[in-house]
Symmetry: C2
Subunit: 287 residues, 2 copies
């Protein structure tokens, strides 16, 4: 039976380290702070926000929430963003995505300050992630996957990682982060033929498709590591991943659960990024 | 025996189209123009430049060459770049890479105007390429590969493309462009284990490793399409690709030669990008 690799131990370890670092920053008069910019009241946004705020508190990081109504104009959104960009006591900005369709996401992501962009939304950070430049911020979810792999001492060099999903928040940055650790990376998606066959080659299989329990043991090579990025609600109202956990548990050597896997680490990564942004602001006070 | 798919027919067809479009632009008083910014006199830069200038002339595009000495200071380089950025009669900028080590490439690429960045150097264009946003510019070489694949009507959707190489000028943008055409993409590199086995799975194998004739028929699946991005000089002083052409010719269904393959299309793509930049400048006169 495979080892269940939970997110909590990784999150707790990182949080403990962050707490110490934040405490020491505070002694020198710095107060790391995250701004959350949310449009509307989507329940999953609110749930994530609640978890994020709790995690920031745990790490000693302040949070300020900017809630805008569903029908906010683009000008109003941008003026809020500009205000947060310029507010010197704010180090990190989380903008909930996707934004309502009437807001021009391209314009918004181009405006967010790259130095405060702790969720890797700005093109400057996207380009740095692609370039393997670790001074940039990757989105929280793929960063969380990397932290889990690191916590459980999974060496990626030369390993074949198969990523299912090609979004800008998970699949693509995930692939670039894995490449940065010298993994061989295959990116699959809805148009992939012979998906199962390709997945069966994976030493590490990372699933981010958004389909409840889509990946069962027939996709998994004996002894593979399976990372489930999915968060779905099944017919019975139960939180499920993209991986059929029970089916894969025997075949995998390590597997993340849902809930309690990757999702348990994302807000910690966000806190880590806020701290980094705060430390960086010391080095580049002009930004 | 496989079909030899040369670059010239693709380049000529695109050039003919460009010529007509440029002629019509000129009638409305616009003169598309490329600036080449070169540091030093590297023979391969000079050879590429010569080809680029000839291609621009063929398409009716003007060229202006800015040649800086090998020991140019960063400030001087940047002031030249700024001048070219701001010069209204210049639509496209090609900066030869890699730059000498004493110049800060990060600072330079961040300063080049994204709207004139016809070789996909700016982070804004890198991010657009990753995002599949076709308003951006990809580097010329992976764009040339896409044009060859298009010219020979190779449908990529669902195909398994294996790219060997993970540079920012070929491997990574190449992978993103292939994903944009719904291919499944595997990115391999020097740390990849079982490289041969992975390559044998490829429907389309794209080789950009910089090692003369490294890939022989043992890497190639029967009927695969082989695209050779390499440009090397072998011991006998002969121009060679990364693929052992003679060895692979029988097994591949289609294969690009070197010389006369991808390299024959890159300057045409550059001309295409200059024209696009010129047309875009009409839509966004502020940029």
């Amino acid at each position: 039976m495979g080892e269940i690799i939970k997110g909590k131990p990784a999150a707790d370890k990182i949080s403990d380290e962050l707490k110490l670092k934040v405490a020491s920053l505070k002694k020198s008069g710095l107060n790391p702070k995250l701004a959350i910019l949310r449009v509307g009241n989507d329940p999953s946004d609110l749930s994530y926000e609640k978890g994020a705020v709790a995690r920031m508190i745990k790490c000693g990081i302040e949070t300020e929430i900017f809630e805008l109504s569903e029908d906010v104009t683009e000008e109003s959104f941008l003026s809020h963003l500009e205000y947060i960009n310029d507010k010197p006591d704010i180090n990190g900005i989380l903008v909930f995505r996707p934004l309502p369709k009437h807001l021009n996401e391209n314009r918004i992501k181009g405006m967010i300050s790259p130095n405060k962009d702790v969720d890797g939304f700005s093109p400057i950070n996207v380009a740095k992630v692609m370039d393997g430049d670790k001074t940039g911020f990757a989105p929280a979810t793929p960063s969380a996957v990397m932290e889990i792999l690191k916590h459980y001492q999974i060496d990626l060099s030369g390993k074949h990682c198969v990523v299912i999903g090609r979004s800008m928040v998970v699949g693509k940055p995930m692939s670039m982060l894995l490449l940065g650790e010298n993994a061989t990376v295959t990116i699959c998606h809805s148009k992939t033929k012979l998906l199962k066959k390709i997945c069966q080659m994976a030493d590490v299989l990372i699933v981010a498709v958004g389909k409840s329990r889509m990946v069962d043991e027939s996709y998994v090579k004996e002894g593979a590591i399976v990372i489930d990025v999915g968060i779905n609600i099944d017919e019975a109202g139960k939180l499920t991943g993209d991986v059929d956990f029970d089916s894969c548990l025997d075949k995998a050597s390590m597997i993340t659960p849902v809930p309690g896997g990757v999702g348990a680490v994302t807000t910690t990564v966000l806190a880590q990024h806020v701290l980094k942004a705060c430390e960086d602001s010391l080095l580049n006070p002009s930004h």
